[in-house]
């Protein structure tokens, strides 16, 4: 399983990349592999505001649907426009081209609720047991 250093993670297998006031959000390699072929991603609209842990998006494969929760509170800054036509980017490049959205970070203190790469790896190992 590909777990990238420098990113933050949630227990729901979302990753977050922090660039100053902007957080980029996607799903992890573990998540895309568990889902299988992604067929559809339902994203929020730009400027929609979410609280940490609110449902923010949905990702679907042929036989599964998963809700995606906001890893941090804030307003949506940008959504990945490619996913509408090419949802398989989530499978092909989950940490880059297959990102879901970018949001403005409202409260940096919330970052401490996220896992770093090391803790996420340990979390994945605990799931495998």
């Amino acid at each position: 399983m590909d777990v990238r250093e420098g990113l933050f993670y949630t227990k729901e297998h979302e990753w977050v990349k922090i660039d100053g006031k902007i957080a980029t959000v996607g799903i992890t390699d573990y998540a895309q592999s568990a889902l299988g072929d992604v067929t559809f991603v339902e994203l929020p609209k730009k400027a929609d505001v979410f609280k940490q842990a609110d449902q923010i998006a949905t990702v679907e494969s042929v036989k599964a649907a998963s809700d995606i929760y906001a890893p941090l509170s804030g307003a949506v800054e940008e959504i990945n426009p490619e996913l509408d036509n090419v949802p398989e980017l989530v499978n092909q490049s989950c940490y880059e081209k297959g990102f879901f959205l970018k949001m403005q970070i409202e409260d940096e203190a919330e970052i401490k609720n996220l896992m770093d790469a090391k803790s996420y790896k340990a979390y994945l190992e605990s799931l495998a047991k």
Binding site: G36, D37, T39, P87
Partner: protein, 482 residues
């Protein structure tokens, strides 16, 4: 194979309409008329007959194939019930007749069918009264959810939650949710039953009802079922019996005796009416004494002069669940089936369904993992997890079965068993058919070890190979266009 639309030839016709025998000048204003014509195929009757005959050949069906699709009770559909349902005295009756003054005398036979079937279903399930209105199992569940709502509203209860076990059919939480309830899911314990302590801890006076299947989707009869009913009743929550698995307990146990308040029955499962490629089914709902007043209107009643009529005058009724009396011809076939089998025949149905399932389970558990190894009822769930090491999944096993002329079991359900294969042989299958199935499953287990590619390549005997479902969902093409 071409679509019927692709076989269209300009100006070809397949049917002659009656001559227009009236002389009328057409004068509807343009603004009410359709501009574009509906592009229906232009084909001959023989074109249509050949087309759909060819399509028919591309289906597995109970008449041609063993069909152990778990939870669906794909038993043999006897031919005589089809003939009964096709009597013109039934097929040509308008459903509104009994609503029209004087016209209920034109449909006494049909009203009697509804009345009699309700009584028979009461005796079979131990319920006090039945409605035949629900049009399918899930529609029965929705009716049940409406009854639950009507009951609590009448009692001035404010109830918000419905409890379901995690092994339940997806329709249970979906039906309760669409009726406005929030869902509490209780996990399954090691015995394969809903965790009783967990259930008790979730139960309180905000709970409107508990929805259960018994035997459950693992084919296990919950021996604490009465305790569950009793606990629920302590807080005046209702207990709902999803009758999808009634085929296991005919003449053996009755939900009404155990303490259930609401029951739906899938007539297309237990009572052998054909599944029709996904419908029409029928999902009549029975209730205990305290819920009779809430049943949908109209009710079919027998008057003192032995004639049948409709009754609407029920102040507590939840209203109309369907326009008429449910899927009448399905109800009719059920009546004919119950009449032919009778008391002993129906009891033997369950005995044999359970015998067949246990026989298969015993033979197959040596080759496939069985998470809950105990006596099962009419179905059981095995798993392909032992085959995973060779990258063989339940779906691969399913596809190979198709090549062997066997419809696969239900796969990937219930969700709580990994790589699940849910097998329900039904009572109408002979020992020889079961033995052939066992042989193929043993062959599959061996192939998984020594030649997994053979399973990966299946099916090879069908008109198409494995289809790209991801493409279907991504590049949505839901209709033909010129």
């Amino acid at each position: 194979m071409k679509l019927i639309f692709e076989k269209s030839i300009d100006s070809r016709t397949g049917f002659k309409l009656p001559e227009c025998d009236v002389d009328i000048k057409f004068n509807l204003s343009e603004k009410y008329l359709r501009k574009s014509q509906a592009e229906l195929p232009e084909v001959s009757e023989l074109d249509v007959v050949r087309h759909f005959s060819e399509l028919a050949k591309r289906n597995f069906s109970v008449d041609s194939n063993f069909y152990p699709l778990g939870s669906c009770t794909m038993k043999y559909n006897p031919k005589f019930t089809e003939r009964v349902a096709n009597f013109e005295g039934f097929t040509d009756l308008h459903g509104l007749l009994p609503q029209v003054l004087g016209a209920s005398m034109l449909c006494q036979g049909a009203l009697q069918v509804v009345y009699d079937v309700q009584k028979l279903l009461c005796e079979i399930t131990g319920m006090k009264a039945f409605t035949t209105q629900p049009l399918a199992g899930a529609h029965g569940e929705l009716t049940g959810a409406m009854l639950i709502a009507a009951y609590h509203k009448d009692k001035k209860h404010k109830r918000k939650y419905v409890i379901v076990p995690d092994s339940s059919h997806g329709t249970n939480p979906a039906s309760a949710a669409i009726a406005g309830y929030e869902i509490i899911t209780v996990p399954t314990d090691k015995t394969g039953c809903m965790d009783f302590e967990e259930f008790k801890s979730k139960l309180n006076e905000n709970v409107a009802a508990v929805m259960l299947t018994c035997p459950n989707t693992l084919g296990i009869f919950n021996f604490r079922i009465k305790d569950i009913c009793d606990e629920a009743h302590k807080v005046d929550a209702l207990v709902y019996y999803d009758g999808a698995n009634l085929n296991a307990i005919l003449g053996k146990a009755r939900p009404g005796d155990i303490g259930f308040d609401i029951v739906h029955i899938n007539l297309h499962k237990t009572f052998a009416t054909p599944h029709g490629g996904g419908g029409p089914g029928a999902g009549p709902v029975g209730v205990s004494e305290k819920l009779v007043g809430y049943l949908p209107i109209p009710r079919v009643v027998k008057r003192s002069d032995a004639t049948y009529a409709l009754s609407y005058n029920r102040s507590k009724s939840l209203g109309y669940m369907a326009a008429f009396f449910g899927n009448f011809s399905v109800i009719l076939k059920t009546y004919a089936y119950i009449m032919m089998l009778g008391k002993d025949g129906l009891t033997e149905v369950s005995e044999t369904a359970v015998l067949n399932a246990n026989y298969l389970k015993e033979k197959l558990k040596k080759y496939f993992q069985l998470d809950y190894d105990r006596i099962c009822m009419h179905e059981f769930v095995i798993s392909a997890v032992s085959q995973l090491k060779n990258n063989i999944h339940a779906i691969d096993i399913a596809k190979y079965l198709i090549d062997k002329g066997i419809h696969p079991p239900t796969v990937y359900f219930p969700l709580i068993v990994k790589e699940a294969m849910m097998v329900e042989p039904t009572e109408t299958e002979s020992k020889q058919t079961l033995d052939e199935f066992i042989d193929v499953m043993v062959e599959i287990a061996e192939l998984a070890e020594h030649n997994p590619q053979a399973l990966k390549d299946a099916p090879v005997t069908t008109c198409v190979g494995r289809l790209d479902e991801a493409k279907a969902a991504r590049d949505l093409n839901l209709r033909w266009q010129k």
